[in-house]
């Protein structure tokens, strides 16, 4: 799998885990391509950033109080 090609059994297990058995049966190439794209990792952050320097979207409880 070093060249990005995925094992058909791996794709089948992943597709079934996601409830996509029907999609895999009808459109095996589409599911295979989607799995390869979806599983590809995100590229490295720009210099000076890391997963601990930038939080994910901020939760703001105050926004639910608007108008009260």
């Amino acid at each position: 799998m070093s060249n990005g090609e995925m094992n058909p059994d791996t794709i089948r297990v992943l597709a079934e885990q996601h409830g996509l058995k029907r999609a895999l049966e009808k459109f095996p190439d589409g599911v295979k391509g989607a799995a390869e794209r979806g599983l590809r990792p995100v590229d490295a952050m720009p210099a000076g950033n890391s997963p601990i320097t930038n939080p994910a979207p901020v939760f703001n409880p105050e926004q639910y109080e608007r108008g009260k």
């Binding site: 996509l20 989607a34 979806g38 926004q63």
Partner: protein, 478 residues
């Protein structure tokens, strides 16, 4: 009087206000033209002729009675079929939604009604605003009026085609990775993605909650600003909306750009993903014009285009899959192949990858803010390639990856696509002008000055218009 097909919103508004033109006359002229011209271009999914004429008669009576609501009063427009109109299907160009009926109008459709605008009908798109031009759906894909064999861009494909074919002076589109600006680029019109949170998303079928924008599409820059003013306004039902009032985009639009500071993100199209030479020639000549108009122009550097693409596509895949998961599990055959393949990728994106993409988004936004400090605006290309054959799927997919539009969906900042001329093969070229969040006035000011000087806008002069063809006999069979 100018041919009504090519009348701009601003020109038409003046004629309507002075009662030299009736909204009924303008609406009838466009409905007639749609019935003759549109079979070749498939811009409209449905034409609401009766409703349009009733709205036009009401507008005529109001204006005659001295009640003029503003520059959109009595002006015809059309909406991408992703906006809810009460009692009508919002099909999203999908057979899955063919029998849907909207219970209420989208907030933006209500805003257009309040402004007195006339809805001509609902426009074609790429299914669910993603995928590409599909031939396995109940309706054919919209065609490019400059060459009907070539891709009109998407996903607001019908909006771009309707404007370039002279079927409407204004249209509504949506933009998640460039879906307003791509058809604007391919069809030679003006398409704006405003700041995230400026225009309500209520009643618009979502694609990717955190990247979706509603945007105005027109033939001129001034018309675009007029339409954005009609659309913007706070909606308490939409949690993504900003509380900030919109700045006046028309006030200084014609004040010129002497002394304005503009950055060029050149490495996107010269180094990261080298563009078609015609597109590069177009932006290079635009830079010369901006300099002649008195702007100070310098190149700036941000992260490579591939990183922006990675960020946008990961968020897009995850959020879109969350919306369509059940249908993809239970009836995957209900989607067009291009749509299904694109959205399915989201099933395999892990939560960790999604969170990393959101972290990356924050880092990229910070980086762009730092790189553009002290500048009024930035310019870069819109499409890197020229429109390809509409039925060449591998080439169509390539055009979606080789573009610089999605950068400004990641930042949420305003960006407009304006024409920079024609390629050697006679297809429209374009560039983007972007600015800081909520600085739409700067975008429009530069866009207006440039387009006036360059003369690249479709006008009533036949020399600037696409040469339209009659509907081919095979169109009905598509």
């Amino acid at each position: 009087m100018t041919d009504l097909a090519w009348l701009s919103v601003a020109e038409g508004a003046q004629l309507l206000r002075s009662r030299k033109l009736s909204p009924v006359e303008w609406t009838k002229a466009l409905l007639d033209r749609i019935s003759v011209v549109d079979p070749a271009y498939n811009a409209f999914l449905v034409v609401t002729a009766d409703k349009a004429l009733a709205q036009a008669k009401a507008a005529e009576a109001e204006i005659a009675g001295g009640k003029h609501r503003g520059p959109m009063h009595g002006v015809p427009y059309a909406a991408k079929d992703i906006f809810d109109v009460a009692g009508m299907a919002t099909t999203c160009h999908s057979k899955i939604r063919k029998h849907h009926r909207a219970a209420a109008d989208a907030f933006t459709i209500r805003k257009m009604q309040e402004a007195g605008a006339i809805l001509l009908g609902k426009l074609a798109l790429h299914e669910f605003a993603t995928g590409g031009p599909a031939f396995d759906l109940p309706w054919p894909p919209a065609r490019n009026p400059w060459n009907r064999d070539l891709h009109p861009g998407g996903s607001s494909s019908g909006s771009g085609a309707a404007l370039a074919a002279g079927l409407a002076p204004a249209a509504l589109g949506t933009d998640t990775g460039g879906s307003v600006r791509n058809p604007a680029t391919c069809c030679g019109i003006v398409g704006m993605k405003p700041t995230y949170g400026m225009v309500s998303l209520s009643g618009v079928f979502p694609l990717t909650y955190s990247l979706d924008h509603v945007g105005p599409m027109t033939r001129t820059v001034e018309d675009n600003a007029i339409l954005l003013h009609a659309l913007a306004g706070h909606d308490v039902e939409d949690p993504t909306m900003s509380q900030r009032p919109m700045a006046d985009c028309l006030k200084d639009m014609k004040a010129g750009i002497k002394g304005m500071k503009i950055g060029v993100i050149e490495h996107f199209y010269t180094k990261d993903s080298p563009a078609d030479p015609d597109q590069v020639r177009g932006i290079e000549s635009a830079i010369e014009i901006l300099k002649k108009l008195g702007a100070e122009v310098r190149t700036i550097q941000v992260s490579p285009l591939s990183l922006w693409t990675d960020c946008n596509r990961t968020i897009h895949a995850s959020e879109a899959y969350a919306i369509h998961e059940r249908d993809l599990q239970e009836r995957p055959e209900g989607f067009a192949m291009l749509t299904r393949n694109r959205i399915l990728a989201g099933a395999f994106v892990s939560s960790a990858k999604y969170i990393k993409a959101q972290q990356l988004r924050r880092a990229l936004c910070k980086e762009m803010a730092e790189a553009t400090r002290g500048l009024d605006a930035v310019i870069t290309l819109s499409s890197l390639l020229l429109p390809c054959k509409i039925d060449d799927t591998p080439e169509v997919l390539k055009t979606y990856d080789q573009q610089c539009r999605l950068v400004f969906n990641v930042t949420g900042t305003p960006a407009i696509s304006v024409p920079t001329g024609l390629s050697k093969s006679g297809m429209p070229l374009a560039m983007q002008i972007a600015a800081h969040a909520f600085d739409e006035p700067a975008v429009y000011r530069i866009a207006h000055a440039y387009c006036e000087a360059a003369g690249t806008i479709i006008t009533a002069d036949p020399k600037t218009q696409p040469r339209l063809v009659a509907a081919p006999r095979t169109a009905a069979a598509e």
